[in-house]
């Protein structure tokens, strides 16, 4: 079953066309990875889905609802959470307040929160501190934790491992594996190993176009294809 279906999307920024005829399907319950070099259009794709940028053409269907044209707050309320590249943490608020904002009703589900504490120890440690004092890796954790503080239908995550140390990346991978058990994830990444470990399906964006689309298993086994598309082999 398809969770998200993108077809023929073209998004322009100013006079420049950033996405051309982008089409792919994200299956329900899987981790779908969007790969590509800098400037390929990965972030634009996520922002187009989230309603922050309006596609010029094409259709974006979430289950059976057309997302294109909706305000991003409506999209969010459908259960789609977005973790942007810059994490989107409110530095002037405390960690607790950051998490509180992400809840619909203004209170936490205790068991769920406890599980989050286990997955992200820093969250518990700095609960009452201003989010601005967290380190880069901790901020990233907070961004992800905030996205899952309540059950979501789908997560859109933009380059969560950027600038993080390998140890934290490993920890993040474990967290994602657990989240993926219950949520569909559309993951944008440049870190191929991370993507390889988590993803089941993938698409490669190049200059705003889909250069490849298929299963991760097949892609992982084909080093020539990897070389060609990503200029590296695993």
């Amino acid at each position: 079953m398809t969770c998200l279906s993108i077809e023929g999307v073209q998004t322009n920024i100013g006079r420049y066309s950033v996405l051309h005829d982008v089409s792919f399907d994200v299956p329900e319950g899987e981790v779908f990875v969007l790969l590509g070099r800098n400037g390929a259009g990965k972030t634009t794709t996520l922002r187009s889905i989230m309603g922050l940028w309006s596609p010029h053409e094409g259709s974006i269907r979430f289950r059976n609802t057309q997302l294109r044209g909706l305000h991003c707050s409506d999209i969010a309320r459908m259960g789609i959470a977005y973790v942007p590249e810059d994490m989107g943490i409110f530095s002037s608020l405390t960690v607790a307040e950051n998490m509180l904002l992400a809840t619909r009703g203004g209170h936490f589900d205790k068991p769920r929160l406890r599980r989050i504490y286990e997955l992200f120890p820093a969250i518990e440690e700095f609960w009452h501190s201003s989010a601005g004092v967290l380190s880069g890796g901790q901020k990233q954790m907070l961004a992800v934790a905030r996205a899952i503080v309540e059950p979501r239908e789908m997560l859109l995550i933009d380059e969560p491992t950027k600038g993080l140390s390998p140890a934290i990346v490993d920890a993040m991978a474990e967290v994602f594996k657990e989240i993926a058990k219950s949520t569909t994830i559309l993951l944008v990444e440049q870190n191929f190993e991370f993507a390889l470990e988590l993803g089941q399906q993938l698409a490669v964006l190049e200059d705003g176009r889909i250069a490849h689309h298929g299963s991760m298993e097949v892609f992982a086994a084909d080093s020539d294809l990897q070389n060609c598309l990503l200029s590296l082999a695993v």
Binding site: Y82, F90, L101, G132
Partner: protein, 331 residues
Amino acid sequence: MMQQLSTKIGKLGGVYWLPVVVALIAFVLIKVPSTWATLTVAGLAMGMMIFLMASGLSLVFGLMDVLNFGHSAFVSFGAFIAASVLVGLSSWLSSDNTLLNMVALLLAISAAVMFGALAGWFFERVIVRPVYGDHLRQILITMGALIVAEQIVLVIWGGSPMSVPRPRMLEGALIWGDFSVEKYRIFAVILGVLAYVGLYLVLNLTRVGLLIRAGVESRDMVETLGFRIDRLFISVFAVGSALAAMGGAMWAGYQTLISPALGQEMMIIVFIVVIIGGLGSIQGTLLGALMVGLMGNYVAFLAPKLALASSMILMVIILLWRPNGLKPALK
């Protein structure tokens, strides 16, 4: 070394010490404790009233990215409406019955506040909303609105200064030995503190306040969390205008003589305060207001010709040190 000093000062409470420093320097210069005390209370009172006038401007800009050059129109209208009510109820004001006094005062302030909220609502819909996102047009159109508002004040209340009666119970001063403190000023300080505390509580303890504080930092991000923050805008705008009107009402009682030029006079002071304090945070606005109020009074005593210029000099010095003001909202 400057960096170390900055960090040290920051740890001890940072820029919040500035008004205290100013007061202490003034004490050294003025020498006479009773005079200093009178001036300080006057400065605090003035600062609080200016805080009321300026807080709306600061928050609206922080949250909505809208600079309202017509903001002081609310101050003007607040002052004149309150004045008219007070004049109308002057018999209540001059009676010995403190209850009548209070009711009259309350009515005057409430009239100003209600007008401010309604006018703010109207202003946001008609003047501001069409020019969202375009700073240039915002500046121009709100300036135009200021002119129109001032002219309307002229048409309704005429061009000559208006005398404002004060309630009997607030007339006069409390005297201890050499120290005398005007009752009205104490009232102004109390009201200002209450307003600040109220704002602070709403901003920090309520969900709405949380949204506002987050929205000041990043409007986009708040929306991706599922909130339609533009619905909040109009309320914030209305509250800001209401506070400005309240400030104007208090100012009318403080000066006891108001003229239509009030709007323009206060506009400059409000702007200087907001520049000094930084846009988007009530802490910054309070700081700026207290500084300007205190400095204004001290300098008026020590070197009268430099009174208004002193605020500007203060502004320049602070801008050199902190180009975005003392405590702007994080962006």
